[in-house]
């Protein structure tokens, strides 16, 4: 066992967050979650278990969903991050957000941003998912209110709305 240094190491890191290039000074031991919430004030991304188990901190890193609590801020250097604040383009909500409201897919709502990010990644890759695809894509997100049925319905409804909107 070694003794931890008292002064944290810091470095400048440049990353793109929701389409905007940001350069800031990050402590080496910061997680990406910490950088988003504490340095950039993007508090839509939630800190749940802080152990890569619950999925409430899910963001996209170069288009792939990751647990931002298990990625160091410096590991995201040079990469593109999308958070819940970046899914809607323009002043309105994203179709997935609309569908979650219409299907009553949120109970307490704490897990909702993470679920929406996993669903967002799925629908970018697969516009016509089966229910099995949705279940697999959401398998890394937990909902302690147990709203899974309506969450799955919400994602399927969003996929349908997005297909109809695109045609």
């Amino acid at each position: 066992m070694s003794t931890a240094p008292t002064q944290p190491f810091t470095s400048d890191v440049t990353l793109t967050v929701n389409g905007r290039k940001r350069t800031l000074t990050a402590a080496h031991h910061w997680t990406l979650l910490h950088l988003l919430r504490e340095a950039l004030d993007l508090t839509g991304t939630k800190s749940g278990c802080d152990r890569g188990e619950c999925g409430s901190c899910t963001v996209l890193l170069d288009a792939l969903p990751v647990y931002s609590c298990q990625v160091l801020a410096l590991q995201a250097g040079g990469k593109e991050v999308v958070t819940i604040e970046g899914v809607a383009s323009g002043p309105g909500l994203h179709p997935i957000q609309e569908a979650f409201i219409n299907e009553d897919a949120a109970q307490c709502g704490f897990c909702t941003p993470g679920f929406i990010m996993s669903a967002y990644a799925l629908l970018r890759r697969e516009p016509s998912p089966t229910e099995a695809d949705v279940r697999a894509a959401l398998s890394g997100n937990l909902c302690r209110c147990n709203a899974y049925g309506r969450i799955i319905q919400g994602v399927l409804a969003a996929a349908k709305a997005m297909r109809e909107g695109a045609s």
């Binding site: 066992m1 070694s2 003794t3 931890a4 240094p5 002064q7 944290p8 190491f9 470095s11 402590a27 080496h28 031991h29 997680t31 802080d50 152990r51 890569g52 188990e53 999925g55 899910t58 890193l61 792939l64 969903p65 990751v66 647990y67 298990q70 990625v71 160091l72 410096l74 590991q75 996993s118 990644a121 697999a136 894509a137 398998s139 890394g140």
Partner: protein, 337 residues
């Protein structure tokens, strides 16, 4: 999380130099899913983390005719979705897809999966100075041991958590490591070690060494393989028991069989007696029940994990049945597990 220094070398030689500078105080970080959990849980207090994720040398995937090379820095998601890998080695994509969750697979690497530390709750709780943390006791031996080893246990009764390891051993993978003395390779099976000499790791690498790649020989014709994993939840769970099995036929006779068990022993466990019961027999005269029974005939269950003996035997039976069905050209129920 306690502060540490994060250093990003630009080559594997640079990583080795950094490891040698301060072997005690340095840990490698690739995807980070395991090491960051250990740091957060207070199991490790590294002064420095050496990042491997920027190293192109670890990121190649070459599926060739003679052999296939998988860089240790490939993510499990990349292994899960590679169509050429799936055609040649479906067992590997089955195993990769069974790991954790999409979010974990998007960052967790092949090398990290092979080097991950035990999931035993005594190990993961910093208040227990257990054998795998350098202590003298395995609390699991007499404690809450329902997830622990039924085979090969002692002094630690941990189970090796990797899904990739049994699957890779079942297709005769070799591991490549790089260190102060350059590259060396070994059968992946020999990479794992019970840790009696070095309890703080589950592999044989020395100071300054790191895993760089996995090599896969071309599968012989008439070879089929399958990975089955039993767990408490359908997703996001480690194996209660897993079976990686492959069979090669020659003229209707089983010429070669690998039956490797995961989640039941401190290292991936080769079920030699089960293999011996199959090899040399005509494929239509195999006693699968007997092979399944022999796979666990040396089991010595602990107080709360007796269920694993029949679970593992049944899984071996299902895996072998699946291989026979595949060899006959159909698919069996077990393939869909």
């Amino acid at each position: 999380m306690i502060p540490f220094e994060y250093v990003r070398p630009d080559s594997i030689s640079g990583a080795v130099s950094l490891l040698l500078e301060d072997p005690e105080g340095t840990s490698l970080i690739a995807g980070g899913t395991d090491i960051l959990s250990e740091v957060k849980d207070g199991l490790k207090r590294p002064r420095r983390l050496v990042a491997l994720d920027g190293l192109a040398e670890l990121r190649s995937l070459d599926v060739g005719n003679g052999s296939t090379r998988l860089g240790a820095g490939l993510t499990l998601a990349e292994l899960s979705t590679n169509p050429r890998l799936e055609r040649g080695y479906p067992i590997l994509t089955q195993a990769a897809r069974s790991v954790a969750t999409p979010q974990v697979r998007n960052v967790a690497t092949l090398g990290g999966n092979l080097c991950q530390r035990p999931r035993c709750w005594y190990y993961r709780d910093r208040l227990f100075p257990c054998y795998k943390k350098g202590g003298s006791v395995c609390y699991g031996a007499t404690g809450h041991n329902r997830y622990l080893a039924i085979l090969g246990g002692g002094p630690s009764f941990m189970v090796h958590p990797s899904d990739m390891a049994p699957a890779l051993i079942a297709v005769d993978a070799r591991l490549e490591a790089f260190g102060p003395n350059g590259f060396r390779t070994m059968p992946l099976e020999d990479f794992f070690d019970h840790g009696q000499s070095r309890p703080l790791q589950e592999h044989v690498l020395g100071s300054g060494e790191l895993v760089t790649a996995i090599f896969l020989p071309s599968p012989p014709p008439d070879t089929r393989s399958v990975y089955l994993k039993a767990r408490e939840r359908a997703d996001h769970d480690f194996a209660l028991a897993s079976v990686a099995a492959s069979i090669t036929l020659a003229g209707g006779v089983v010429a070669k069989a690998n039956v490797i068990l995961g989640g039941v022993a401190p290292t991936p466990y080769r079920a030699r007696l089960a293999e011996a019961a199959i090899v040399g027999r005509p494929v239509d005269k195999l006693d699968l029940q007997e092979a399944a029974r022999l796979a666990v005939s040396e089991a010595r269950p602990l107080e709360f994990n007796r269920y694993k003996v029949s679970l593992t035997a049944n899984l071996v039976g299902q895996a072998l049945q699946s291989l026979l069905t595949q060899l006959k050209g159909g698919t069996s129920h077990a393939d869909r597990l």
